[in-house]
Amino acid sequence: MRILLTLLFLALLVLGVWTFMDAHNHAWWLPPNVSSYGGDIDRLFYLILWMVGFFFVLTEGLLVWCVFNFGRKRTTKADFTHGHHKLELVWTAVPGLLLLVITFTQMQTWAKVKFKSNFPDVKPTCEVWASQFDWRMRYPGEDGKFGTVDDIENPFEFVVPVNEPILFNLRSRDVIHSFFVPYLRLKQDAMPGMVIPVWFQVEKEGSYDLVCAELCGWGHYKMAGRLKVVSRAAYDAWLKKSKEEMNSNGSEDKS
């Protein structure tokens, strides 16, 4: 029984570590980062992962050793102890210190991504409306204003130019949703009644998944969108074409 339990806990340790070491071979890992600030977030992620990984191995190893060493049939009476002051001080102070390290290392990144004083000085590209269960991007029309009749509304696809800071207003029509683009390392809740400015900059053209990351109802699983990053020229052409479609007189429907 002692050996069996030892092996069981050892297997947990080995499997746990192997899962992380081998994840990139199975597409279990993060998708490649394409945003300007994603690298900073990834570095924080790895810092915390290594810390947690170290303590996982340490505590799990200790557990295996304890099971192996003290798991024999008891022959003597158990000792009674009031604890060990120095040891307790150490295991309080060290994690406390580590938390401080994390706090101070992440502040710069958090400020860069979320503080409004650090937002790029550009006009919002569009409004992103979340609703049960789709995403709708509303681009201002000729007048450059949101909420007017010449706005262009694009379901599903969030089209933006590459290598430019993009600011957008995140809004919700009904319940709490969350705008999550794993490729950008960007996640932001959308609250009904609030206008939440969000920014990002993508450095590689392509189509990236946009999903809802806040359980918002029965159709949450299918509330998907797409971030389509194109060149400036292609973006301008798309915007021009959308404006033309907006003013269509329906003649394209004539066969």
């Binding site: 958090w110 979320k114 503080f115 409004k116 004083s117 937002f119 790029p120 000085d121 550009v122 006009k123 919002p124 609703s131 049960q132 269960f133 789709d134 709708r136 201002p140 450059g144 204003k145 949101f146 909420g147 007017t148 009749v149 509304e153 379901p155 599903f156 696809e157 600011l167 969350s178 996640k187 932001q188 809740d189 609250m191 609030m194 206008v195 939440i196 400015p197 969000v198 920014w199 029965w218 159709g219 299918k222 509330m223 998907a224 797409r226 479609e245 907006m246 003013n247 269509s248 007189n249 329906g250 003649s251 429907d253 004539k254 066969s255």
Partner: protein, 433 residues
């Protein structure tokens, strides 16, 4: 899984179970089963080398010729993206695992057949597979699988709008309820005179979604898949209409001849083909809104002899006009109208700016011009007064369209700079996790 008769049919033919069986059998002959749906190709059609199962093929190539060249180009462009990895595999002549498409069993079969064909030369095999992926257009059998995965849970097996997510009639889960295709009526189309929808109308609904309802945009599927779903939805609608027509025929004649199902099918098919003649188009450029137009629109909106919109949509456009409500036995204020599906219906609140049929000026123009098929919204684009003059000449139509659209304007200017229009909740701001 199998097709059944609608509740309405079962109720009206409750005393004639053998007729129910006869109709169910005829429908299976005409439209197949959910596992293998396909239109019956009548002898006339076969003689004329016409196959209703191929919407993508030109009329002279044995199809119905309903996919324009530009639409087919869109299909091909999407196919290159969708099948990128498969096409790369084909280029390497590596055919392992090539025939595994969970939502396209027919495509899987076709790929597997080419891969397994021993008599095929390697060059030909490669070329055939490349062509198959590049020009892929789903058969009804492929589309039924995608329908089963994506649409059925709301719209039901026969397209009756009675899938599990829709809830029951007594306890509906969605408001509005999912469309019941079987009446052949679709609300948001570009056609007038309550004509059947064109395939492009159904495609637009899949592309744009119906904003403000549970119907989302299905743009995440390739153009081919969406056109395939349109074909399948049309088949379900035609099937439902034929079923309904057969019930009427039986009730009128008290028997059903062997020819009745085919005649009903051809009749309904012709109706669907006639829709393209009914498109509402404005000849000329859409005029830009001016303050004078909006003022004119305001008058027309409230004028009981002109637009008469306010009677239902309310003085402020809030959807609370007096004609839209009535009092029930207990004196409660309830919707005055029901739509053709029997659901209580309220006029749109125009201030919200949620236009189910699309928010382009031409979309709103079409709603006012042709009305909404199946609902109480009338079309007034061609109404004439006692002197034979149009109640709303084109300039008045546009005044009304622009006025209606202006009701949803929010007064939120886009200021320059990073912050605008809100008090930041602390420097961190934004909330989130």
């Amino acid at each position: 899984m199998h097709y059944t008769l609608s509740t309405a049919t079962k109720t009206s033919l409750a005393s004639a179970p053998e007729v129910q069986d006869q109709i169910l059998g005829s429908l299976e002959m005409l439209f197949g089963t959910p596992q293998n749906p396909s239109y019956l190709r009548t002898k006339d059609w076969a003689d004329a080398e016409f196959d209703p199962n191929h919407a993508e093929l030109a009329a002279d190539a044995g199809g119905t010729g309903e996919l324009a060249e530009s639409e087919m180009n869109g299909v091909k462009a999407d196919n290159l993206v969708r099948f990128r990895s498969q096409l790369e595999q084909v280029a390497r002549r590596d055919y392992a695992g090539l025939a595994e498409f969970k939502s396209a069993p027919h495509l899987s079969d076709r790929v597997a057949a080419i891969v397994a064909d021993k008599e095929l030369a390697e060059d030909k095999r490669q070329a055939d597979l490349k062509a198959l992926f590049e020009n892929y257009y789903p058969s009804l059998r492929d589309s039924t699988e995608l329908y089963r995965q994506q649409c059925l849970h709301c719209h039901g097996v026969e397209g009756g709008g009675d899938g599990p997510t829709a809830g029951s009639v007594e306890h509906p889960f969605l408001d509005p309820r999912p469309r019941d295709y079987r009446l052949g009526k679709f609300k948001f189309t570009a056609v007038k005179d309550k004509a059947r929808p064109r395939r492009q109308d159904l495609y637009r609904v899949l592309d744009q979604g119906v904003y403000g309802t549970a119907m989302p945009s299905f743009r995440r599927f390739s153009a081919a898949e969406r056109w395939g779903l349109v074909d399948y939805v049309r088949m379900l609608a035609i099937r439902g209409e034929v079923e309904h027509d057969l019930v009427i025929t039986f009730q009128d004649d008290e028997h059903l001849t062997a020819e009745a199902p085919l005649a009903a099918f051809q009749d309904v098919w012709t109706k669907w083909q006639a829709a393209k003649e009914k498109v509402v188009v404005f000849e000329g450029e859409v005029p830009a809104p001016t303050p004078a137009m909006l003022k004119r629109g305001d008058e027309l909106f409230h004028d009981a002899k002109k637009g008469n919109c306010a009677s239902c949509h309310g003085d402020m456009g809030l959807g609370d006009g007096p004609a839209a409500y009535k009092l029930d036995d207990q004196g409660h204020r309830v919707p005055a109208y029901t739509d053709d599906w029997g659901n209580p219906i309220l006029p749109r609140n125009l201030v919200q700016g949620l236009y189910r049929g699309g928010r382009r000026p031409i979309d709103v123009y079409r709603r006012i011009y042709a009305g909404i098929n199946g609902g109480p919204m009338p079309g007034i684009g061609e109404s004439k007064d006692a002197d034979g003059k149009l109640v709303l000449p084109p300039e008045d139509m546009w005044a009304l369209v622009h006025y209606v659209r202006s009701l949803s304007e929010r007064d939120e200017a886009v200021a320059g700079g990073p912050i605008h229009g809100m008090t930041p909740p602390g420097e961190g701001g934004g909330g989130g996790n």
